[in-house]
């Protein structure tokens, strides 16, 4: 599925992982969290071979926000966030005061503190997604792997979450975010890695790689780029086929 990937994400980078459906973004993230085994090649996290980590050790250095939530039991949201503290706890351990403080701080940052006592089965999908982001923050890992972490959120919360990621990024946390929202990626990521058919198609700083030529080729639809009116970063505009026909005629 993935072939010949060779890349390095430096500490405190915020990297966007882009590419069409089935290009291997999720698989790459799952490989990096040892859910999907590597058949060949090697991966290192914090200078250590991935296979040398136990599940708990790995959970201390990297945390993931999954693409799809699988919620079947009515846990309270605070209990869900506290699950992020699991790798920090000893066997037979219970939640310490510190765990609770960290969990609640993560909920404050993601604007979910009001939901703390609600059952996760009773809140909306977007709210549950933010609770899961809070859980991931409570894990306090130095590398965060996000798989469409904000796809279910409304615009305001999307921006709020990425503002938060960028703030965490300034504090030294490394991010690798698989995304479909090209413009959101261009707004926040310093570097973009484009995957196509399981290979790296383009990899480089956002300003250099987010071009009409690259996007049109990779996504196989016509793309126009205009600068963001306030920040000047490139933003993608898509062209409906009817317009395309009218122009050529």
């Amino acid at each position: 599925m993935l072939h010949g990937l060779d890349f390095h994400v430096g500490k405190s980078e915020l990297v966007g992982l882009l590419g069409p459906n089935g290009s291997g973004k999720s698989t790459l993230l799952l490989c990096l969290s040892k859910v999907v085994p590597l058949h060949a090649g090697e991966a290192t996290v914090s200078g250590r071979e991935l296979s040398a980590y136990s599940a708990r050790e790995l959970a201390l250095v990297e945390a993931s926000v999954p693409q799809r939530l699988e919620i079947s039991f009515p846990f309270r949201c605070i209990e869900v966030v506290l699950m992020g503290r699991y790798p920090h706890q000893r066997e037979f351990g219970s939640d310490s005061d510190e765990d609770l403080t960290r969990a609640m701080e993560a909920m404050r940052l993601t604007d979910t503190l009001d939901l703390a006592q609600r059952r996760i089965t009773e809140i909306s999908g977007g709210e549950a997604q933010r609770v899961i982001i809070a859980r991931t923050l409570a894990q306090e890992a130095e590398l965060l792997l996000l798989d469409e972490a904000t796809a279910n959120l409304d615009v305001a919360h999307k921006m709020q979450m990425f503002d938060l990621f960028s703030k965490k990024n300034n504090q030294g946390v490394t991010f690798l975010c698989a995304m479909h929202d090209l413009n959101l990626a261009a707004l926040y990521c310093q570097r973009l890695i484009f995957l196509k058919n399981g290979r790296i198609s383009v990899d480089g700083p956002t300003m250099e790689t987010f071009t009409e030529e690259n996007l049109t080729k990779i996504y196989e639809t016509e793309v126009r780029i205009i600068p963001h009116p306030d920040t000047g970063v490139p933003q993608a505009m898509f062209v409906p086929s009817a317009t395309r026909r009218a122009q050529s005629a």
Binding site: E70, F75, G93, T101
Partner: protein, 365 residues
């Protein structure tokens, strides 16, 4: 920071609520423990032979070696201590085991409709028992125990091993293949039981009665027989309560949160199956306790498995203890109903009520 003033009372409020909920939990636990203790005493006093309460208490005291021998006549002593108390305690233990095992199976399979018998452990036990009846071993006895519990236990553990082997795909124990393997094994064993019944008509009524579940004629030897497996199973599942919470979020997330999913799942399955086997081998197949009790508990104390297991254990014990009292006292003249029939008759409608209420609640939300 300007916003810290706004949020700090909120933090304290949540902390306060958590403390309060922990207090409610502890109070509930103490209350249930007291009710359980009183129920054991109360159920021991109930039976067809009317025995005054002082005699009941004196007999229990003497049986436990708390008071000197000879203070109670032989007949009430045997009835109260050897027959009733052992049976009451066994029914409580079996109910507890089924309650805890149900909670664990529902969590591991991430399906609130799973029960201790979902993956075929009960069919294994039933097959073992049926084989014992057919071979005419029903009367044979080892230390007064009989070969039925022994073969039922072997059958239950054998079925579990078979399911685990069949359920492995590429070295991994997957949830969906596990359920399928359970269905396959259970169906196959049921067919074998039907075959035994067809070939050996004399054994039919014994097999049918055993499968319905009963505590008739059980005593201290059965308590001693099932207790080690029960304790071992309890230890295995209690150790993994926290991991089980996390595993209900799905295998992928559990791994990413640092849970060794394979190892924990195997441990939980073996633990819960030991609990089920310990229960089934001495009582037969008793339905609904392992399904309804964890459901009811989850709706009231929430989904966290440590609490869920403790409450399901106590409530399951209480439910089966009183079901057994009903089964041995309902019919006049000393006739007994199989306790599995009683739990199904009470549990079935009760479960429907639970489902109805829950659906209503969701609509109102």
């Amino acid at each position: 920071m300007p916003d810290s003033n706004q949020t700090s009372p909120n933090l304290q409020e949540i902390r306060g609520r958590l403390t309060a909920s922990r207090r409610v939990f502890v109070i509930g636990l103490i209350l249930l423990a007291i009710v359980s203790f009183l129920s054991v005493l109360g159920a021991t006093g109930i039976g067809h032979l009317q025995i005054p309460w002082e005699t009941v208490m004196a007999a229990i005291g003497e049986g436990l070696g708390l008071s000197p021998a000879g203070s109670v006549e032989r007949t009430p002593l045997v009835v109260v201590f050897d027959i009733r108390l052992s049976r009451v305690i066994l029914s409580f233990l079996v109910g507890s085991a089924l309650g805890v095992a149900g909670a664990v199976f529902q969590g591991v399979l991430r399906n609130p409709l799973a029960d201790p018998f979902t993956i075929g452990v009960a069919s294994g036990a039933a097959f073992g028992a049926a084989l014992a009846f057919a071979l005419g071993l029903g009367g044979a006895s080892y230390l007064g125990l009989g070969t039925i519990p022994l073969l039922a236990l072997v059958g239950a553990l054998g079925a579990l091993a078979l399911v685990v082997i069949l359920g492995r795909v590429q070295g991994r124990l997957r949830r969906d293949t596990l359920v399928l393997a359970g269905i396959v094994v259970a169906t196959f064993l049921s067919a074998l039981i039907a075959l035994i019944k067809a070939l050996d008509e004399e054994a039919v009524s014994a097999i049918v009665f055993w499968v319905m579940g009963s505590f008739q004629g059980r005593g201290w030897i059965h308590v001693a027989f099932s207790l080690p497996y029960l304790l071992l199973g309890l230890y295995l599942v209690a150790k993994c309560a926290r991991e089980l919470d996390i595993m209900t979020m799905g295998e992928v997330q559990a791994r990413q949160l640092g849970v060794e999913v394979e190892r924990v799942r195997r441990r939980l399955l073996v633990g819960a199956s030991l609990l089920t086997a310990a229960a089934v081998s001495v009582s037969g197949v008793i339905g609904f306790v392992g399904l309804v009790v964890p459901h009811l508990v989850r709706m009231t104390v929430g989904a966290a498995h440590q609490r869920l297991m403790i409450f399901s254990g106590l409530l399951g014990g209480l439910a089966l203890l009183w079901s057994d009292v009903v089964s041995r006292t309902l019919l006049p003249g000393g006739e007994e109903l199989p306790v599995g029939v009683v739990t199904a008759l009470i549990g079935g409608p009760f479960f429907c009520l639970l489902l109805k209420r829950r659906r209503g609640g969701v609509i109102l939300d």
